[in-house]
């Protein structure tokens, strides 16, 4: 079995009295693509927010790349090698594509604290390279992304993740607001990650997509992980049964 890249043990998050995430044990292996599915409010996004340290967990342990970790914030998680595409796009609309790709990790010609001079040419070139490998279609990378379609913007966000992906990529419903063609484009980027051996956690409502793309499916229900199934040992109906609680539900036990 391949090396474990991410593991959570007893991961728990409560908001006041609300148990958003209870005792989640999760394992992701090197090069593996895993889908996280579940109904609204099942705890999928909460799970991601704990792993990426957007929020601080109530209890439990997270091991990343063999080490127990406790990131202070999303930036630390990113520096450790976890790249995330959040549900709400973390893009600056008034900046062009290279500026967005390199937001927070700019390249410099000359370092001088906040007045460091940007290396705009290098950032632009590397942006074009990154977008080429992801086959994203963008008419002009020098335009502010405000003028782009939802799909193009999403592609920029994902390209940013894919371009810098080192150890783990997490995508929270990356195709939720996209058209057919744009969805296909995003799925291509995901296949590209698979080919490059970059592990992925994909949160999705789209079971067709999930079965198309990933190796394993983890089902969340009412804040708990109720199933973890290899793609070839399950089917759509089976997954839906777990999601709705027909199978494996806590109350059924």
């Amino acid at each position: 079995m391949a090396r474990i890249i991410l593991e959570t043990r007893g991961l728990t998050k409560r908001y006041g009295g609300v148990h958003a995430l209870e005792d989640a044990d999760f394992v992701l292996h090197e090069g593996e693509h895993v889908a996280v599915v579940g109904d609204n409010g099942a705890g999928k996004s909460t799970f991601v927010r704990q792993v990426t340290a957007v929020e601080q967990r109530t209890a439990g342990e997270i091991f990343f790349d063999g080490q127990p970790v406790s990131f202070a914030g999303p930036l630390e998680a990113r520096e450790a090698g976890i790249e995330t595409v959040f549900q709400t796009l973390a893009l600056a609309d008034d900046l062009d594509v290279p500026s967005n790709l390199f937001l927070g990790r700019e390249l410099f010609r000359f370092r001088l604290g906040p007045f460091s001079i940007l290396d705009r040419k290098a950032m632009r070139e590397r942006t074009l390279e990154a977008l080429k490998t992801t086959a994203v279609k963008i008419p002009n990378v020098d335009n502010p992304i405000r003028n782009m379609s939802g799909g193009q913007r999403q592609c920029v966000a994902i390209a940013r993740t894919a371009a810098f992906a080192s150890k783990l990529v997490i995508m929270d419903e990356p195709t939720a607001a996209l058209g057919v063609q744009e969805t296909a484009q995003v799925e291509n980027i995901i296949r590209g990650l698979k080919d490059r051996g970059v592990p992925l956690i994909l949160i999705s409502h789209n079971l067709r997509q999930v079965f198309d793309l990933v190796d394993r499916i983890v089902v969340f229900r009412r804040g708990r992980i109720v199933a973890s199934l290899r793609k070839d040992e399950t089917d759509g109906n089976d997954i839906v049964s777990y999601i709705t609680g027909v199978k494996g539900g806590t109350e059924a036990a």
């Binding site: 957007v54 600056a92 937001l103 927070g104 008419p139």
Partner: protein
């Protein structure tokens, strides 16, 4: 096609379809307004820009240009700072009052000990009065602006109160400082060195073509600062962070930008620029009054907004603000030139500011739709 590399994934990019920089629209408006006032003046038998007197050998109306350039320069320097604050999605209502407070304090350190052989009748520090080197009042002034800007920035960044409220508080308090400093009395009689800061000639009384450039140090300083901050906003991390924060603060935070610290830096910069304006203003007028700079904050905001800086943050440029400042000043001088009553001037000024914001909102809506 040379620009083919722009298009990715098979999409062709047509450079002709590129949206024109919005600064060109502002520039067009400036030219249009100049033409309008020239025509209006001609109808009254005068000229707005050109010299009409036979006994003066000049092409341009030097007096009018001098007034316009001075006005652009002093308030324009404030507008450079206000522009940066608006770009990060904030607002600074305190700059006019900071000019007032700084003016009083600066002038106290710039006072000369003896006037015409008698002790300076206005000396703030009485018996200790002495001619300090020019660097002392300058340093004191910059320290005032820095402090005011720092307080603004800390309030906005760390108490999370809206910038409107934080800087409104500073606006009232700084004006209080200005009045308290000398119990409302003007502070006058600076040293010769201090007076020459604004009245002297950095460029040695140079003439650019047919336009003489005497006693325009504030304009020289304004141009230098405008070029400096244009480069800073366009080519450095400071600028990139400013636009990113104004565009999407949450995204900037998530990308690891220390948003709070950057805000403090930008507000401090605005305070410093207000102080520079105060130094030049007092040096030009050779006196400081507690009421100096009243409404400058609104004029500065108006210059930025006219120049295309979006009050929503994230959009606009230093070049835009410089052009906006020019438009603003041309309109004021233009009204005077056609002898429009001062009351009407203020009414129209207000309408222009509102009009510029409406235009900005409208542009925003059409853009997100398109």
């Amino acid at each position: 096609m040379a620009e083919a590399t722009h298009g990715l994934g098979g999409l062709k990019y047509d450079p002709a379809k590129r949206t024109r920089a919005p600064e060109w629209n502002v520039f067009g408006a400036l030219v249009l307004i100049l033409v309008i006032f020239e025509v209006l003046n001609r109808m009254q038998g005068g000229s707005f820009l050109f010299n009409m007197r036979d006994n003066v050998d000049a092409i341009f109306n030097q007096q009018r240009l001098d007034i316009m350039i001075l006005q652009v320069a002093i308030i324009g320097i404030i507008a450079l700072g206000v522009t940066q604050v608006i770009i990060i999605g904030g607002i600074d209502l305190s700059s006019g009052s900071v000019v007032g407070a700084t003016a009083m304090i600066v002038m106290s350190f710039a006072q000369t000990a003896m006037v015409n052989g008698n002790p300076n009748p206005k000396a703030i520090f009485g018996d200790w009065a002495m001619d300090l080197p020019v660097i002392v009042p300058i340093a004191a002034g910059l320290a005032c602006g820095l402090l005011a800007g720092l307080v603004n920035g800390l309030l906005v960044a760390y108490t999370k109160i809206p910038p409107f409220i934080a800087t409104l508080g500073m606006m009232v308090s700084a004006r209080g400082v200005a009045r308290w400093w000398s119990n409302g009395q003007p502070v006058s009689f600076p040293t010769e060195g201090y007076g020459s800061l604004a009245n002297g000639d950095l460029l040695g009384g140079m003439t650019f073509g047919l336009l003489s450039w005497q006693g325009q140090n504030p304009a020289v300083v304004f141009v230098l600062l405008a070029v400096l901050f244009h480069l800073v906003m366009k080519y450095t991390l400071y600028g990139k962070r400013s636009y990113a924060i104004g565009s999407n603060e949450a995204a900037a935070r998530m990308s690891g930008i220390n948003v709070d610290r950057h805000k403090v830096l930008v507000y401090t910069m605005a305070g410093l620029l207000a102080a520079v304006a105060a130094i030049l203003l007092t040096s030009k007028n050779l006196t400081a009054q507690a009421g100096m700079g009243v409404m400058y904050e609104l004029d500065a905001i108006a210059m930025a907004v006219i120049g295309g800086v979006s009050l929503a943050g994230g959009r606009g440029s230093i070049i835009g603000t410089v052009l906006g400042a020019a438009i603003f000043s041309v309109i004021i001088s233009g009204f005077t030139s056609i002898r429009l009553d001062a009351y009407y001037q203020e009414m129209v000024k207000g309408a222009i500011i509102v009009g510029a914001v409406v235009l900005d909102q409208w542009r925003q809506r059409t853009r997100t739709r398109g």
